[in-house]
């Protein structure tokens, strides 16, 4: 397992890129949405300014907040950033993909959610408990769907290592039916997991239908900044995951200057395209009723399961 220093350095660059570019993606989506709604919208860099502002503000805690409430922003940010650093962005061969494979990546995100839900329960307000209950319930349905769709890809690649999976996807000659199922499932899960319309509305507060925001109502200052930033990283993580696993064209297979630079451009272009698509989707759709969410998620789960079944029955022997 000899891994060159160059690869590790590129790996770190990738991780830093994921963390630093995440607010930009949020800015692009916001801008697109504003334009689609005939508004001028805030500048693309506004999310950075918001984060900066929150970091400068003072932090207020509820009287009975325990240490779990105080550590949650740090745990959340750490685990999300760590999960983001194992996904190939512009280079296939990623040494950190050996540390945590795709199952471990999903588990890291689950750990983040576990802590966030605990933080929601910590103060003992009705909103926090409500958010925690809904978030955990829906993620319990979304997580198996995500794992299943990942498994479809890893069965084809004979590996759960993300680097190997991306490499396999890069050399796929034609679209396999199981891959189509997996892609559909993962797209649906990505929308749900990031709390976007039609599952949750990221831009509302104080509505009885909210999920994610209900858990973090009590946060302020730098704690809130870390949580917001972590959720932006998570969105970029899912976008990159979809891009690298299903449309990896252009990603660099060797650590040389030119391929890496073109791969970066390709990646950026694809992320922007996804952002525009998401903005269109969010402008065109409305949030569904809370108890229609399970149906949506079970559809994703069934799609992923069908993908796996199709793979085992049709593709393994062939």
């Amino acid at each position: 397992m000899s891994i060159s220093i160059t690869l590790w350095v590129l790996n770190l660059v990738q991780a830093a890129l994921m963390v630093l570019a995440a607010p930009l993606l949020a800015g692009i989506i916001q801008k697109c949405k504003a334009r689609l709604q005939n508004r001028r919208g805030a500048p693309i860099l506004q999310p950075y300014r918001n984060l900066l502002k929150l970091f400068r503000k003072e932090t207020l805690l509820a009287e009975n907040a325990s240490w779990i409430f105080r550590t949650t922003p740090y745990v959340l940010f750490t685990t999300t950033a760590l999960a983001a650093s194992v996904v190939p962005v512009f280079l296939v061969d990623l040494p950190s993909a050996l540390i945590a494979d795709v199952i471990a990546m999903a588990a890291l995100l689950a750990l983040a959610r576990f802590w966030l839900a605990l933080a929601g329960m910590d103060i003992g307000t009705a909103f926090g408990g409500m958010g925690a209950s809904r978030e955990m319930t829906f993620s319990a349905l979304a997580e198996p769907a995500m794992l299943m769709s990942m498994f479809v890809m890893s069965l084809g690649a004979h590996s759960t290592n993300l680097s190997t999976m991306v490499e396999h996807a890069l050399h796929l000659e034609h679209l396999l039916p199981s891959v189509a199922f997996a892609l559909a499932a993962l797209l649906m899960v990505a929308i749900a997991e990031n709390g976007r319309i039609p599952i949750d509305n990221p831009s509302t507060h104080l509505e009885l239908t909210m999920i994610h925001e209900a858990m973090i109502l009590e946060y302020s200052g730098r704690h809130l900044a870390l949580i917001e930033w972590a959720s932006q990283i998570k969105l970029l993580l899912f976008a990159t995951l979809i891009i690298s696993l299903f449309v990896p064209w252009g990603i660099a297979e060797s650590a040389e200057v030119w391929p890496v630079l073109t791969a970066l451009v390709f990646w950026f272009g694809k992320v922007v395209l996804l952002a525009v698509a998401l903005a269109v989707l969010e402008t065109g759709l409305v949030k569904v009723r809370l108890f229609q969410v399970p149906e949506y998620l079970s559809t994703a789960f069934v799609l992923a399961f069908l993908g796996m079944l199709v793979h085992y029955i049709l593709e393994v022997g062939a």
Partner: protein, 677 residues
Amino acid sequence: MIDSALFLAICAMSTSLFASLLSPCIGRFPALQRLSVSLLLAVSGALAMAAGLFGLNSSEAVITLPIGLPWLPMHLHLDALSAFFMLTIGVLLLPVGIYSVGYLKEIVAKNGSIQQMGLFLPLFALGMQGVVLADDAYTFMVFWEIMSLASYFLVTFEHEDEATRKAGFLYLLMAHLAGLLILGAFSVLYAAAGDFSFVAMRNAELSPGMATAAFLLAAFGFGMKAGVVPLHVWLPDAHSAAPSNASALMSGIMLKVAIFGFIRLIWDLVGMHEFVWWWGALVLAAGSSSAITGILMALQQHDLKRLLAYSSVENVGIILIGLGLAMTFAASGHPLIAVLGMIAALYHTINHALFKGMLFMGAGAVMHATGSRDMESMGGLIHRMPVTAVFVLIACISISGLPPFNGFVSEWLTFQTALLTPHLENTLLAALIPFSASMLALAGALAAVCFVKLFGIVFQGQARSTAAAEAHEVDGWMKAGMAIPALFCLLLGVLPTLFIPLIESVPQMLIHTSLSGSVQPENWLWLTPVNADRASYAAPMMLFGMLIFAALIYWRLHGRGKRILRGPVWSCGHAQLNPRMQYTSTSFSQPLKRIFSGAYLPEVHEGTRYGTHPLVVRTVVYAVYIGDLFYRRLYLPIGRITQIIADRVAHEHERGMHAYLAYIFSTILLLLLWVVQ
């Protein structure tokens, strides 16, 4: 010269036996009795652990003790399989022993004596250790019954309560039904071998029909004891009725002893070469249904210990998924994948012993502090019991299968086994394996919901009762008892690469294949089943990465020099928030109750009482009851049918003397006819 590991194991058994014999003699000094029984249990656990660790590395050792029937002395032996389960027993018996020193103090204060507990708790430990060491069917059954009977008396410890007596009766009934089935399985093997010793049974030739009969009897017998759905109905009642230290042992180890029995009988005595494809499929299906049913039922409980008991059903299901995968691959000629599945199952076995033992000890601590098992009356305990809260949190993270703790490692290994599935000719299997994998994923995610609920409702928020508001931290013994498994949970989570080579001797013994060079972890950092391209997980580096990231954030982003202000909880302008406004355990799991209402079939009792005028509502009653589906839909109908048949038969007794003479006459006639033929 007796082997050192076996010697240690026999010492462990003798210590248990000594503790149970000593206990009645010093019953007049409760403090001494409590201290000696608990500490002797801990010593027995430490000895069992040592025996297990040595035994895993050494070759099989046999000893024949001149006790038992005249023509059938007691055969004991220690091979890799028994060593692994000795280790599992020891690893929990040690902390539970230490915990009991503190825990029994309260029971002494409440009941005045611990006579029953002092006698049966060590006897229970002795039974489990004996089952694991047994080398002939007779010894196995004797210790098995000691284990069952001793645990019956532990379940009925608080026999003043009618529900406890009922739980105990159901437990006794099903334990003996299980014992009968296991006896049946051994009889089949005896018929083939002509001898009770395991050596003879191992070498006996079995016809396919006999092998199948033995498999089915063993699957149902051990499955009943392990709490596999739908044979689990005794488990939630029994585990919640028993005192917490006993339920920690019952849930943490006794269920595992049943798993041991199954592996011993099917993998070792019947042998891998007899496997038929549907055996594995049956185990896989049973495991999947247990995992899902167990966790769905656990989600709807608000009795702390019932919740944990149902979660044990789920975890036994996960173990069986690993075991079922191993059986499937062993039967279809893929021994290497079978080894991986077996390791996943064994890893989860020891994991579950650790975190479930810890959770039951935590539940005991919480009950000790609040005097209640009802989660709806707790809350905010993290402020009152900070140390217990940390240990329970570690257990909750572990059992939810989240890194960097041990639960994740075994679930990861199980997933890897399922993903290694090669092309299988059998369509049913090809569909069943992805189905089990998806059920495992769903069960894992639901477990996270369940344990967020447990921790959030019990330890966080505001106290929902005065007892919870005035709760106090437990004493040092109980804390130490919970600290040991917490440490092991972290160690097994971070250093799986040191532990897997150790337990690999078990599949080596049973499957005669080893993960060999290509599969052996390359070094202590990377866990790489099969090879590094396939999959790898480096827990130490992940933990290291987490710490580095966290330190970086803290250093860069933590606002220095800025004080954190504390303020009142934001209340939407409401004058005063009270604890009753919080989400409760029931409301937390309400969405899932609605989503899975088909599986719960909740019974809703609604009623409105009006006053003098139909517009004046006096009282509104709303009650939801979710019972065990299998109990209502399977066991009660069976009971009812039995009752109807018994009633019919009872009618025949009401005839006069002449009818009885006719019965006797016809019986003699039938017997004569049979003899003549």
